[in-house]
Amino acid sequence: MSIQTSNQPLLAADGRPLKQSLSRALRRQKLRALALVAPLLVFVMLTFVLPICNMLFRSVENDIVSNIMPYTVNALESWTAEPDTLPDEAIFKAAFYDLSVAAKAKEHTKLGTRLNYEQTGISSTFRKSGRALSKSGKALAKEFDALDPRWNKAETFFELFTTDEADRQASDQNILDRQLFRLNQLKGQAYDPLPNFELAREKTAALPLTAREYGYWALFTSLEKNKDFTKGKVTEALYVALTDDLQNPQNKAYIDRLTGPSAELVKTAAAYFETQPNLNYAKLMKDVNKNWAEPVVWETIKLHSSRYTNGYFLNAVDMRKTADGPAVQPESKQILLILFQRTVKMSLIITVSCILLGYPVAWLLANLPMRTSNLLMILVLLPFWTSLLVRTSAWKVMLQQQGVINEVLVWLGLVATDNRLEIINNQFGTIIAMTHILLPFMILPMYSVMQTIPASYVRAAKSLGATNWTAFWRVYFPQSVPGIGAGSILVFILAIGYYITPEIVGGTEGVFISNRIAYHISSSLNWGLAAALGAILLTVVLVLYWAYDKIVGIDNVKLG
């Protein structure tokens, strides 16, 4: 064997550098380990991590406004909300078409609901507008009908806008692409474009607004409704758009240049509408619903039009977004901070109760002879074998006014029949039931720590002259603290997110923040706020965990 110099790499038996062979061997081990955990990893990713990330994302996501009212949001960008000033005509115009389209797709109420979180009452404005939006269109449709009954048919519009097979170059694919995008955003879908449907460029130049709305409507009718858009009638809003186009002086030159079969039809209508009063979208919207004349509605839309928002988080801490930055919610709507405080406070009380009740039991478990302690352990674990719902309901039976405890107290004469104790549907009930349910999570870690404390420490303390109490307090207790820490962190984290028990025995006073989250998920459907509350709860837990790690050290936590 030759002696290796220090800067020569060590070689393994097969002549490879030792480091390389070692890392190869380790890599194989790691791969095998990874293969073993892979199924669980995938399962957890798909069923736990991804949904949570998705949920957390909802707390800042806010594309519903810009998806449903894309033109309005665009138009509002340059508008600054000033007290008592209404937006200009262009904004009303954009809103009219956005809302007409949304109403047809039955999406306007969703937006109303979303904005209602921020501005109570706004949802009814949206809901009521849905029906009224088509009124003005209907009136104009009659006028067109009087001019020429052909205007009444969808076929006419089809012929007016489409190109011949031979004339593909002259088509305006751009408009259709954008309208398909608009439809996809609105419905949250990804439709394929319509084949063989193109708009003639000269027509889209002459009647741009009508072409836009017609393009959208055709796509919507065909792709979303699965109907033939060349038959029957067109949507009412198109007549408004057409009137707008015919009255628009910028279009005049292009209209005059129109040729082909429907050119005469358009020119006659243009001549008629030139004599009519100009279209006024502001008035039109006011007629739809008088609330559109309220600046606050527009302010709300503008305020919440961005695709990402901190609004939900502000709401989660009893604040709200205003044009002048975050502001505190009115007193009557402040509930969440109180709930957060209550959740933390009650979780702390529950944790402390669990420590007080669990410590002696854990001590007994660790110090009794094996046979007895096994029996006791079964008693401790017994609750795990019963459904959570059953245990909680049992507490309901125990604690209610006509329940076991009250009956016994009345029977003993300790409590008057008309003065029964209120120990359920309040914080007290929640604390009792949850302490009971979470107790095993406190006892088990404490037990496993205490088991590792040799009896000789207490004996040594006593032989050194300590009384039973001093020996316990100065010697045994400090060594059992890691168990208390582990149990506390477990119980506290479980308690802070508990849902079922407070829901059943908590009444209104004893509910936790998670009950509020559940309410927003399943009743008010304000998922964004629910997600924000969840995110805050998660952060609180992580911060506590971090603080605990700093103070006690997570390595000191023994769970078994």
């Binding site: 004996r459 303390a461 050194l464 002259g465 300590a466 039973n468 400090p478 060594q479």
Partner: protein
């Protein structure tokens, strides 16, 4: 060796102990020790040594009998009032306290003022030569250092009686020997009474004033180390302490200080009767390996001789260790000093061996 019970400091009186109500772990223990004595309890595993210590310390109660400390029965005195220092087998240093805090503990519970406490701690640490380790945690000390701290802690409150349960069990040989020396020196210097438990017989012999050999819940013999070695009273003690050769036989003739034993191969030898009562009894004869001679020049005139066959001759430097076949026993060991005139043996050789009848003790079978 019985001392007058008047100056007995610790006294076990007919003490019995049972854990399960079925078997007696300690059977009829009687023991007296005077102030200042270093007594070792020696015995095989499970013989009840720790149990005795625990009864003395107050962590177990005697099922029957009395334990007296300085003439007072302590059966009803709780452990913390007994004022007995104790060193545990695993040291039991409180892991969450520093060395100084560990030492302060017995002083604090005795409500000794801070200044006095500190001087005592410093003195105790210096006594075990650990003065510079006051701020360390037990986990930052080596085994021997922990052991010394445990000793210092048991001594810092100046108890008159200190119990030590195999305190050196976890140490390596060299450190153990050093600590044995230190513990005995300290005990003598301080004049404390020590009850020491071990199952290492060398430790027992080198450290103690007296040794109590335990077996099967009883004290088999309580004597000073030299008489224990040289005058074992029964074959358990003879076998347990030091190396020992045994030959089985039957008592043929018995007088006050001479017994004639017929070995199982028929040969007759003279022995000192120690634990035989009557003629015809089975007996086990015990001879220490170093009391056997084979060198003709060295065999005493009065010595008793037998022929033996050499099975193995091991050169060990200072001594020769020879394994012989004697009276049908293949494990008869003799140890001889490597003197200039000493003769060396080879396996298969037939030799004459001899010993004095007084070195050959007839014990119970």
């Amino acid at each position: 060796m019985a001392k007058s019970s008047k100056n007995a400091f610790v006294k076990f009186q007919r003490v019995q102990k049972s854990y399960d109500g079925e078997t007696l772990v300690v059977k009829d223990l009687n023991l007296e020790l005077p102030k200042g004595e270093f007594l070792t309890m020696l015995g095989p595993s499970g013989s009840g040594k720790t149990t005795c210590l625990m009864m003395l310390a107050g962590f177990e109660t005697a099922t029957h009998g009395d334990i007296l400390l300085d003439g007072v029965s302590i059966n009803n005195i709780p452990p913390h009032q007994r004022g007995i220092g104790m060193v545990f087998q695993n040291y039991a240093l409180f892991p969450h306290m520093t060395v100084a805090e560990n030492l302060a503990f017995p002083l604090e519970v005795r409500k000794i003022a801070k200044a006095e406490r500190e001087t005592k701690i410093i003195r105790a640490l210096e006594m075990v030569e650990m003065g510079s380790f006051a701020g360390r945690r037990p986990s930052q000390l080596s085994g021997g250092q922990q052991q010394r701290i445990a000793l210092a802690r048991a001594l810092v409150f100046e108890p008159e009686l200190v119990l030590m349960d195999e305190p050196l069990g976890a140490l390596d040989k060299q450190l153990r020997e050093k600590m044995q020396f230190e513990i005995t020196n300290l005990a003598h210097a301080l004049g404390i009474t020590v009850v020491y438990v071990t199952h290492d017989q060398t430790e027992a012999l080198t450290m103690s004033d007296r040794v109590a050999v335990f077996n099967d819940g009883r004290i088999q013999q309580l004597a000073s180390p030299d008489s224990l070695y040289e005058e074992p009273e029964n074959s358990f003690v003879a076998q347990f302490i030091g190396e020992n050769n045994t030959l089985d036989g039957e008592v043929k003739n018995l007088s006050k200080n001479m017994a004639v034993v017929q070995l199982d191969d028929g040969s007759l030898i003279d022995c000192k009767p120690v634990n035989v009562k009557k003629v015809g009894e089975r007996t086990r004869v015990s001879i220490r390996p170093e009391r056997v001679e084979y060198n003709k020049k060295r065999i005493n005139k009065q010595a008793h001789t037998l022929t033996a066959e050499v099975l193995e001759f091991i050169y060990m430097g200072d001594i020769f260790r020879t394994r012989l076949r004697v009276a049908g026993n293949d494990d008869f060991i003799i140890k001889t000093r490597n003197a200039p005139d000493q003769q060396r043996l080879t396996a298969g050789q037939q030799i004459e061996i001899g010993w004095l009848p007084k070195d050959c003790r007839a014990l119970d079978a």
